[in-house]
Amino acid sequence: MKWSKISIGITFAAYLALPGCCSGETPKQHPVDTAIKAMDTLYTLDQHKMEVAQAVGPAMLAGHKYRFVQIEVAKVTNPQKHPLIFNVYYQPLNKEKILLGTFSLYPADNPGKFIVATQGKVTSGGSIILSMTSPEKMKASDQLKVVVKKIALREK
């Protein structure tokens, strides 16, 4: 399996940043984008920023049974057509992140709306993490830009 060097780098760095992995200490919370406010917020992912995290507060979850995390990929610039695979995680506060599901773009420059099941795991405050990766090696000069709308939770 080929993995992009950047993805390996981020994963390795994240591993080092999570002392809980080795020493039993509390896992470090993935930094979230505190600028999220409006429904029309857009995130941009590229070779330098392959992950984004959106906070999920207890107040937002109270009284709801969210069954799905919805990711809407609004725009894709990927002229080299690198395969793009997205992992969706949920990280409860002070705990390890949990993989909820994975989706891919097909073709590799095709936007779309995707859902992954929460599996009943998004029940307390934390963050939803969207992580982009590719099994292909990318050159630094390759163009890549993926615009994602604010991550939504759906009851059905």
Partner: protein
């Protein structure tokens, strides 16, 4: 050549002297054909799991290889030609063509596509028993060696030749998806997770719009179809019973002889019960296979699949469009109710709105002839029989299938049990309104007009003077409450 039953065979009406037009199914039953039907269904082609060490699978691979060779050798203008078939889905240069992705017809369209492709393979190889093998990436993640031989027609360069260890096809990711009982959230997960991811990961031709040029494409989509089959049949989940979904039609596929074929989404739901079957294998967890061993069991299964989900409506508002009107099928119906798009802004502007806008069409009685279906358009006064379903004003369609009685699930929404059987259809026009608003053809002040266009199945009406007697046509606003499990 022995002709296998197809759902369209059974619903087609045939003329019997002294009797008139009857459904083929009724005819076969009356003429003592029930046993023949039962035998044909029992022995319908088997789609087997790709693997090594099975003589049956090896034989299927050999037939498939032969079919690919023959399809590639057909003249370029033969609609069964390999490249022509692939182009229905899309091409590398232009991207997707007619395929349904990101829509609620992802499953049904691809099932129809595979069905006719399989028919072409059967015809060209002279093997009516051929069933397209499926690539169960969960159980057998590596490509079968037949696709790796660089001297073979089955070979194309690919970025990866195995998906072993790849998350989206693992049990950990697939098992939760198969716990979803709602069709409208099951299909997007299958599409986005294993379907898209395998396309993307195998890459090269498989990763782009021309993916159907790779012979592995068809076995990959056979597996996607098997996912739908397992969810619907083995797990007892139900497809939509919305007549608009069922009546969505495609008329550009060709059969084994290269003749244009007509297919609807509703008919695709019963294809794996009548026209092919799947060799059982696990997808993630072990789900028990449903096998109908008696006629009664088969009938019960077929009825459930055809009926679809138990759907309840809670009508919040109604806008009359027409009452007690007689229409000629040769002339499209056009009416403008006293309502503007602004009346539905809360629904049109919100993708997550629970309420939907439907056109509800009640007929006084079934038409005498049913050799046509009816397309519903919004704000297209010039709509006619030539206006395609791809037109952005298209909302849905419905038909009066087969026998003199309407099919269950096609027309029986909200019908009191004691009521005489009269057809009633609902077409969800919400996506069309949203689409027209996004392209700015519609704004809050725009009036909404509705067109009903009868389209003949076979190119022309047998009786163009047929009258459709409408009881009433109206717009209704209602949430759709889906109780997906059978009761």
């Amino acid at each position: 050549m022995e002709e296998y039953l197809t759902p369209t065979n059974l619903s087609r009406r045939v003329f019997v002297k002294g009797v008139g037009l009857v459904s083929a199914a009724l005819l076969l039953g009356t003429m003592g054909g029930c046993e023949q039907i039962a035998e044909a269904i029992k022995n319908r082609p088997m789609r087997r799991r790709l693997r090594t060490g099975s003589p049956e699978v090896d034989a299927d691979i050999a037939t498939y290889r032969q079919a690919v060779t023959l399809m590639k050798a057909l003249p370029a203008n033969d609609p069964r030609n390999w490249a022509k078939q692939a182009a229905i889905h899309g091409t590398a240069a232009a991207g997707f063509n007619l395929c349904q992705h990101g829509t609620e017809h992802f499953f049904s369209w691809h099932r129809a596509y595979l069905f006719y492709f399989e028919k072409i393979c059967q015809k060209l190889t002279g093997n009516p028993h051929f069933g397209l093998p499926y690539w169960n990436w969960n159980q057998n993640p590596a490509l079968n060696p037949a696709f790796l031989d660089t001297t073979s027609v089955m070979y194309l360069p690919r970025n990866n030749t195995t998906v072993a260890g790849f998350g989206p096809i693992t049990t950990a990711e697939l098992a939760p998806i198969f716990t979803d009982t709602n069709f409208f959230t099951f299909w997007p997960q299958i599409e986005g997770t294993p379907h898209n991811s395998v396309h993307s990961y195998i890459g090269a031709t498989m990763g782009g719009g021309g993916s159907a040029m790779d012979p592995i494409f068809w076995t990959h989509h056979c597996m996607v179809d098997y996912c739908w089959y397992k969810w619907n049949v083995d797990q007892h989940n139900n497809n939509p019973n919305d007549p608009g979904w069922n009546g969505t039609a495609w008329d550009y596929f060709v059969d084994g002889d290269g003749n244009t074929a007509h297919m609807t989404a509703g008919i695709t739901t019963i294809m794996p019960l009548l026209s092919y079957q799947y060799e059982h294998s696990n997808i993630g967890l072990n789900i028990k296979q449903v096998v109908a061993t008696t006629k009664a069991e088969f009938t019960k299964l077929q009825d459930r699949v055809k009926a679809g989900a138990n759907v309840k409506f809670d009508i919040k508002s109604r806008v009359p469009i027409a009452t007690r009107t007689a229409l000629s099928i040769a002339r499209p119906f056009n009416a403008t109710p006293r309502v503007t798009a602004g009346n539905f802004t809360a629904i049109i502007d919100n993708d997550e709105a629970k309420d939907k806008v439907f056109v509800s069409i009640n007929y006084v009685q079934l038409p005498a002839e049913s050799d046509f279906f009816v397309r519903v358009f919004i704000n297209l006064p010039d709509a006619n029989t030539s206006t395609p379903a791809e037109d952005p004003h298209y909302a849905g369609s419905f038909a009066f299938f087969g026998s003199t009685m309407p099919e269950r699930g096609m027309a029986m929404s909200n019908m009191p049990a004691a009521h005489h059987h009269v057809p009633k259809f609902l077409v969800n026009i919400t996506p069309t309104l949203q689409r027209l608003k996004k392209t700015q053809e519609l704004n809050d002040k725009s009036q909404i007009s509705v067109q009903l266009v009868a389209v003949p199945f076979m190119g022309k009406f047998e009786h163009p003077d047929t009258q459709l007697l409408l009881d009433n046509v109206e717009l209704i606003v209602t949430p759709v409450i889906v109780n997906a499990k059978e009761e």
